[in-house]
């Protein structure tokens, strides 16, 4: 349990630095540090699938994407925050915190899964029959690609659609014609 508190303090410090620093690159790296802390936490919670996805997406995706697109001349952010935006975000954080306190009070103690309280949960079927029905040793793969194949199809469709939109909008031909029309 101690390791979780250590990681939590690490993630909090990294998040505060990410918000408070002026340099964009160090801010992005601090967000990546938060992601690394989260993925190590998932590893200690025995969820290696989530840990791999978290570290790959958060660290590689975020940092490399920012580094690749912003390139060399990184901007320094200056100026104060907007008052209205600050108030709204504090209110939203307060609401989520209060709701979280209510929800977390109902959870079973740490280490026991939630579905142990529900007698006919779907997870019981997955764990009991997953290996024999699908033949996949990795139960996560068996669920996301066999039992929940529709979810994965929807996720792939979302990705596909967003890529189509991005490439169409960022194509130089499209931008050139827009510039010509605007003069």
């Amino acid at each position: 349990m101690v390791i979780f508190y250590v990681l939590l303090v690490f993630m909090l410090i990294a998040a505060i630095i990410a918000v408070e620093t002026d340099d964009l690159l160090s801010s992005v790296i601090c967000v990546g540090a938060v992601g690394v802390g989260g993925s190590i936490m998932f590893l200690f919670l025995r969820a290696p699938d989530i840990a791999i996805t978290q570290i790959v997406v958060e660290v590689l995706g975020l940092i490399i994407l920012i580094r690749a697109t912003i390139a060399r001349d990184l901007t320094f952010i200056s100026g104060d925050r907007e008052f209205f935006g600050l108030v709204v975000s504090i209110v939203i954080m307060l609401v989520i915190f209060l709701a979280g306190v209510r929800v977390l009070g109902n959870l079973p103690p740490f280490g026991t899964p939630v579905f142990s309280q529900v007698p006919d949960a779907a997870s019981r079927t997955y764990i009991a029959e997953g290996l024999q029905k699908t033949g996949a040793a990795n139960i996560v793969a068996a669920i996301i690609l066999d039992y929940r194949g529709y979810d994965t199809l929807g996720e792939a469709t979302v990705l596909f659609t967003s890529i189509i939109g991005a490439t169409v909008m960022l194509r130089s031909k499209c931008r050139k014609s827009l510039e010509d029309r605007n003069g």
């Binding site: 290696p48 995706g61 699908t134 033949g135 793969a141 490439t167």
Partner: protein, 159 residues
Amino acid sequence: MKGMTIIVKTISSWVKLLIFLFGIYIVLFGHLTPGGGFAGGVIIASSYVLLMLAFGREFVEKNLSLTASSRLDCVGALMFVAIALVGMFYGAASFFWNFIHQQYLADRATEFKLVSAGIIPLCNIAIGLKVGASLFLVIFALSVFCNDFRCKGSARELM
């Protein structure tokens, strides 16, 4: 000079193959070990992004052109849907029916072997292709866009 210094170029030219192989391993063993199509695809894309950072965009475009990567993206999506549809028309089953496992592998104790789990490895390969190619496309498009903003005119004819 395009790209970074000679140290970064040398090390990334050694490391890129390891990252690429690790991505392929994550995709192919997704039904046995943690990982799967999504994580492996992102790792494969990140190996190309590493090359893009170290050597500049033109070098990567020579290796994997935009049309090739968008074709790979479409091939991945089509393969995923085709696997699902084959399960629908094969026998009297439903969409995403694991037909290979149910028909051929179910009575043969193939657990914990590489050839097991029916359509799940094939779906993993399809998703890995799709995610890798599309993330590469996103980063490529954003990089072109951003360069275009900075120095108007010089980078436009690349895309």
